[in-house]
């Protein structure tokens, strides 16, 4: 029972992190209609900033998370202004290549500052919660809780506030949104800021149970892509459900099939599902 519960907990933890990363990616896709390959680099930079603020400056874990979210949000906004906005009328291939250029640049900068070594962010809460014969490390519970709060918050922001609705409106119909007076400029900046902040928060939450290194974003971003394809590009519920599906598939696959091949599961799942359903599991509401 406990072993099974641990796998569920593991799946939820992984799923939460993947969902947060995929949410940012899917929001940007809804607005820009490009897969942002640099999103994994935002994730990685977020982890390093938290590591710096919490480690070298000795700040509290939550302070570090907020600083990192703000810093990556600003970075994402700058990249929108300098790179993606000027390229908005070019073929999609050019956006993708520019994003790859940004990815290479950010990785190289991080490596220049902190080196290629592995770092570790100390966990803020090291207690282990017990309930009957079930045990759960506090950090994992924290990740799941924070992710759920963020997802609900984001959903309320997008559905219930005017500012949030402008994002949904622009994703649904760019011209229509502009006609009713929504500034596409503000919306893109806002979307990039949210997506960057989500990536940084996900990275900060994940960092204590994982390692920090320049290439840490690669696998996460690849999986986030798998998730938004499965969930339907631009679809928010799809990103959450997709994240959980991959998280659970990985944690159970690692335990019941093979730990060695756990990273391949997400990709095989995608190949398998897309072979049967080329439109994805949940064809998106926004296209």
């Amino acid at each position: 029972m406990n072993i099974f519960f641990q796998q569920v907990l593991n799946g939820l933890t992984l799923g939460s992190v993947y969902s947060l990363v995929a949410l940012g990616l899917t929001l940007v896709y809804g607005i820009l209609h490009i897969p942002n390959f640099a999103h994994g680099a935002f994730f990685m930079v977020g982890a390093y900033i938290s590591f710096y603020v919490a480690g070298d400056l000795g700040a509290n874990f939550w302070v570090a998370m907020i600083v990192s979210a703000a810093a990556v949000a600003v970075m994402a906004m700058i990249s929108e202004r300098l790179i993606f906005h000027p390229l908005r009328n070019s073929p999609a291939l050019h956006d993708m290549i520019a994003a790859i250029g940004l990815l290479l640049f950010l990785e190289a900068v991080v490596q220049a500052i902190w080196g290629a070594d592995f770092h570790r962010l100390p966990a803020p809460y090291t207690t282990i919660l017990r309930f009957a014969d079930l045990t759960a490390p506090a950090q994992r519970v924290l990740i799941i809780g924070a992710a759920i709060v963020l997802m609900i918050g984001l959903q309320i922001f997008l559905r219930r506030t005017t500012t949030g609705s402008t994002i949904v409106a622009t994703a649904q119909n760019r011209e229509g949104a502009a006609l009713v007076g929504i500034s596409p400029l503000k919306v893109s900046l806002l979307t990039f800021a949210i997506s960057g902040a989500l990536a940084a928060v996900a990275a900060t939450l994940f960092a204590p149970i994982n390692l920090i290194y320049p290439a840490m974003g690669h696998l996460v971003i690849l999986k986030a892509f798998v998730i938004i394809i499965l969930g339907g590009m631009g679809s928010i519920p799809g990103a959450i459900v997709g994240g959980m599906v991959i998280g659970f598939a990985e944690s159970f696959g690692a335990f019941y099939i093979s730990n060695n091949y756990k990273d391949i599961i997400a990709f095989v799942l995608l190949v398998f599902i897309l072979s049967l359903r080329p439109q994805g599991l949940f064809p998106s509401e926004v296209r």
């Binding site: 993708m96 190289a108 892509f225 091949y261 995608l270 190949v271």
Partner: protein
């Protein structure tokens, strides 16, 4: 149009002469080595250009197929004692067979979905090579691949392999030139320009795309086989996505959808990277922004920009002599497709 062809042959002749003369003017062997490696990447980039540039489907698993070709040669020669050339003959076909099945699955998807799907295919290839210890040597890699030889002629010096690689490069360029000017090549371009229009013209979309994909993976496998014979050491990293990104950069710098673009791009960028070598691990700090600036201000690459300039000049000359008016942008597109 006759004049154009003659100019083109002169251009090819000069390039070939320069390539043949290069080892005799190189100041050290390392330069020849770098150039031969650039040629191998150029062959691979031409394969990617066929699917991404001519057919308009950005395949992000290209390095994976190159690795399949390379591992075909590496594993067959080292583990099974198969002669190099026999293994080399199999490199292209095996990559193409895998490519055929991957193509059937992935080409049902369009645009970004296709790109991301192939990104995953590439990653699966990488993970299978890295984790399949017993069969692929895993992370240790394949060591001690024999040098290619024909009878008593052994290609074990850098210069001799350079000429071998050059021969394959010339062969690939020739085949590619024939291909893109044939009716098949034109149907690839038709698909790039518009799926719907191509279908309306009676082109079987799926069959044509799968053909382009299979041919492109065949070339990837071939270049991988050469890579195995030249570097004689293989690691699973060859299949990683950043090698595909390098190849995309080659294609883009030279000119996407042009015949010689990938070759010029591979050679130019290899030397730029070499000259940034003093920056060691930090060279990406320069390379990344360079890539971004390139797609912003120079999106057609070296050959593409030249083609548009030539077309505009021809159009202006045409206007002056009051023959039929040609829109500069339209003929630019054509020049890009023909170059």
């Amino acid at each position: 149009m006759r004049v154009d062809y003659r100019m083109e042959y002169v251009f090819y002749g000069i390039l070939l002469l320069a390539a043949v003369a290069f080892p005799f003017f190189a100041t050290n062997e390392y330069q020849v080595y770098v150039m031969a490696l650039a040629f191998i990447w150029a062959i691979s980039a031409m394969g990617l250009n066929l699917i991404a540039g001519y057919t308009g489907q950005l395949n992000l698993a290209h390095a994976g197929f190159m690795a399949i070709g390379a591992y075909t040669v590496g594993l067959l020669t080292v583990d099974y004692g198969v002669p190099f050339w026999l293994a080399f003959l199999l490199a292209g076909p095996i990559a193409a067979v895998v490519g055929f099945f991957a193509g059937i699955l992935s080409l049902r998807l369009k645009t970004h979905f296709f790109s991301i799907f192939t990104l995953c295919v590439g990653y699966i290839i990488y993970l299978l090579i890295e984790k399949g210890d017993s069969f692929t040597h895993g992370p240790v890699g394949v060591i001690g691949i024999p040098a290619p030889s024909i009878g008593p002629l052994v290609f074990d010096t850098t210069t001799s392999v350079y000429f071998l690689v050059l021969a394959f490069l010339v062969l690939t360029i020739w085949v590619m030139r024939r291909l893109v000017r044939s009716i098949v090549g034109r149907s690839f371009v038709a698909i790039r320009n518009s799926d719907d229009l191509a279908e309306a013209l009676g082109i079987n979309l799926m069959r044509t795309k799968v053909l382009a994909f299979t041919l492109s993976t065949f070339i990837a496998g071939l270049s991988g086989g050469l890579f195995a014979g030249f570097v004689r050491f293989l690691g699973p990293d060859l299949a990683r996505e950043y090698h595909t990104f390098d190849l995309i950069a080659f294609v883009l710098v030279g000119g996407i959808g042009t015949l010689m673009g990938p070759v010029l791009g591979a050679v130019a960028l290899t030397w730029v990277t070499q000259s940034l070598q003093f920056l060691e691990n930090y060279r990406m700090i320069v390379f990344g922004p360079m890539l971004i600036l390139l797609v912003m201000f120079f999106p057609h690459g070296i050959i593409g920009t030249f083609g548009i300039w030539m077309a505009r000049r021809r159009a202006n000359a045409g206007k002056r002599s009051n023959t039929q008016a040609v829109l500069p942008s339209r003929s630019g597109e054509e020049a890009r497709a023909n170059a």
